[in-house]
Amino acid sequence: MRSRVPVSRIRRREQRAAYLFLSPWILGLVAFWIVPIVASLLLSFTDWSLIFKPHWIGATNYRMMASDQDFWHSIKVTVKYIVLSVPLYMIVGLLLSLVLNLKMRGMNLFRTFLFIPSVLSGVAVAILWVSLLNPDVGPVNEILRAIGIGHPPRWLQDPAWAVPSVVLMGLWGVGGGAIIYLAGLQNIAVQLYEAASLDGAGPLQRFRFVTFPMLTPTLLFVLLTSLISAFQVFDTAYVLAGSNGASGTALNFYLLNMWTEAFTNQRFGYASALAWVMIIVAAVVILTIFRTAGRWVYYEYDPEKEQ
């Protein structure tokens, strides 16, 4: 047993070292998060346009939203996209990962094929699918006509079909979600399946009582990230809105609308207010999901948590 002084000195030295190690992050946190968050809150109560001096206009920006058609339209587009895409991608991704988790010859090759689109840029994928979905000469409609559909949808050029087209394009990269489920599946202990089989559980029961509960933390993670990323749809909308003006309004996603207000219309105050609405909505969504998560997410006993 040594005296106390050197121990506490070692502790203090370790503490000082820790904050040195943390310093890049702390600097980054202050410069790129805290200052901008406070600044954007203040800006959202001004009419700043970068050139003229900002005026304090109170909650006018927030009041203006109520009658701003572009704002409501962008909410509608984004919600429509969430409703169509999130359940679809989650279910397809899950089913796909179940198949990809089978031990079959050549599976690595199939996995590679399926994951490739998810590493490609939104711009590149959008360019490819704009061409494929060209209503008059594109290959997709050519196939549809060949199988007897006389008037296939005009996809991105039809306001009613524009959002479903983006959802369809996203399906091409659904393997990216499957990768996360696959990781979750591979973390499930084999013993659980063996025990379930010994108890006479069939494949459906094994999915219902082993796979699904063990995968709920992964599902929670995917649900959270896909809801947040739905607010961040930009690349696709930017490329498409630029290339066909007609669908520009039909694809006015939340982030694109905010970007336009800030960088095209120079309404930085109003755009900051839009950003704050985005933060609040994201926070409400995240908190609601976490609140209800206890009811359907199953956590294994984790001794590390007890420390």
């Binding site: 901008p36 690349d235 905010m258």
Partner: protein, 313 residues
């Protein structure tokens, strides 16, 4: 009959999902068991499914290559659609895109500078910060780590306006600095990923090193960092892909054509009418190749990296 169906499919699935934990002998024994035809049927259905899905992925890519290889006067859209290259092999289209008036080689170099800067920044900052959270005892470690988690959930885009104003005010608009410097402040997701990995390295190593008189920096640099190369590779690859593909950042901060990145140049090609389809597709394909190559080489580590995090906190 339905009962038999269920049991045999169960067997087939079980066999297919069996892992190393099941002794090899029993697997082989089951293969020659009663329900073999069922297993064949199950596997056939699965293969058909997988091939169909792969076709959905690969045919568009192959169509793009076909279009990229066509000479200027050949239509890209044909009836019936040419899904794979057969008649035309104009590989020169690629060098025209890279070196010709579209000067995509220049944009590729611009993008590479930003990507390299980001990888450097992320690796330095995130490994330092993750080391502190994973291996050092200090006051405030828990609340600070919850701040990391919170910043992971706030979309960066919500802060783009004030960040833009800040960088504009200090005269960084039009330079690569706003696109590179923030990465030196760390990224919550990568800090989380590296910290999870570093926690799995045995503590005894640190203790032994401290007894030998090594300080925290030496433990980090000589012991923990070399052992963390797998997770650092994963972070480098993710950073490569996200920063190579980034559109929003460059579109906000870059104002001169000569400093554009690939994604900005590509997006402009589409917006600007009159770009020939074959060159557009060649440019598009070229922009994809680095990410595909990186993915091929890092594939195993990427999947393992995601699995190692466990998403359990």
């Amino acid at each position: 009959m339905a009962q038999v169906d269920a049991i045999s499919t169960a067997d087939a699935i079980q066999e297919a999902t069996a892992t190393e934990a099941v002794p090899r002998k029993s697997r082989r024994a089951r293969k020659t068991g009663k329900w073999r035809p069922r297993r064949v049927l199950f596997l056939t259905v699965m293969y058909i499914l997988l091939i169909t899905v792969s076709a959905f992925i690969l045919l568009p890519a192959s169509w793009m290559l076909t279009a990229a290889l066509k000479p200027d006067l050949q239509p890209v859209f044909t009836i019936p659609t040419q899904w794979y290259p057969s008649q035309f092999w104009d590989w020169a289209n690629f060098s025209r895109v890279l070196l010709g008036s579209l000067s995509f080689l220049h944009y590729t170099l611009n993008t590479s500078i930003i990507v390299a800067g980001n990888i450097l920044g992320i690796l330095i900052s995130c490994s330092l910060v993750a080391f502190a959270f994973a291996r050092l005892r200090f006051r405030g470690s828990k609340p600070l780590f919850s701040v990391v988690i919170i910043t992971m959930l706030i979309p960066w885009q919500a802060l783009m306006v004030p960040q833009f104003i800040m960088f504009f005010k200090i005269g960084w608009y039009g330079t690569y600095l706003p696109l590179i410097v923030p990465s030196f402040g760390g990224n919550a997701f990568f800090i989380f990923l590296i910290r999870q990995y570093m926690r799995t390295i045995p503590r005894e190593l640190d203790d032994a090193a401290r007894v030998d008189g090594l300080n925290s920096w030496q433990i980090f640099w000589r012991i923990i960092l070399p052992l963390s190369t797998p997770v650092l590779t994963v972070c480098a690859v993710f950073t490569f892909i996200s920063s190579w593909n980034d559109l929003l950042g460059p579109i906000i901060y870059l104002d001169k054509q000569q400093s554009f990145t690939l994604s900005v140049a590509l997006a402009n090609l589409v917006t600007r009418a009159g770009t020939p389809w074959n060159l557009l597709m060649a440019a598009n394909l070229l922009s994809m190749i680095p990410c595909i190559l990186v993915f091929f080489f890092a594939q195993k580590k990427l999947i393992g990296g995601i699995a190692s995090v466990g998403l359990k906190g």
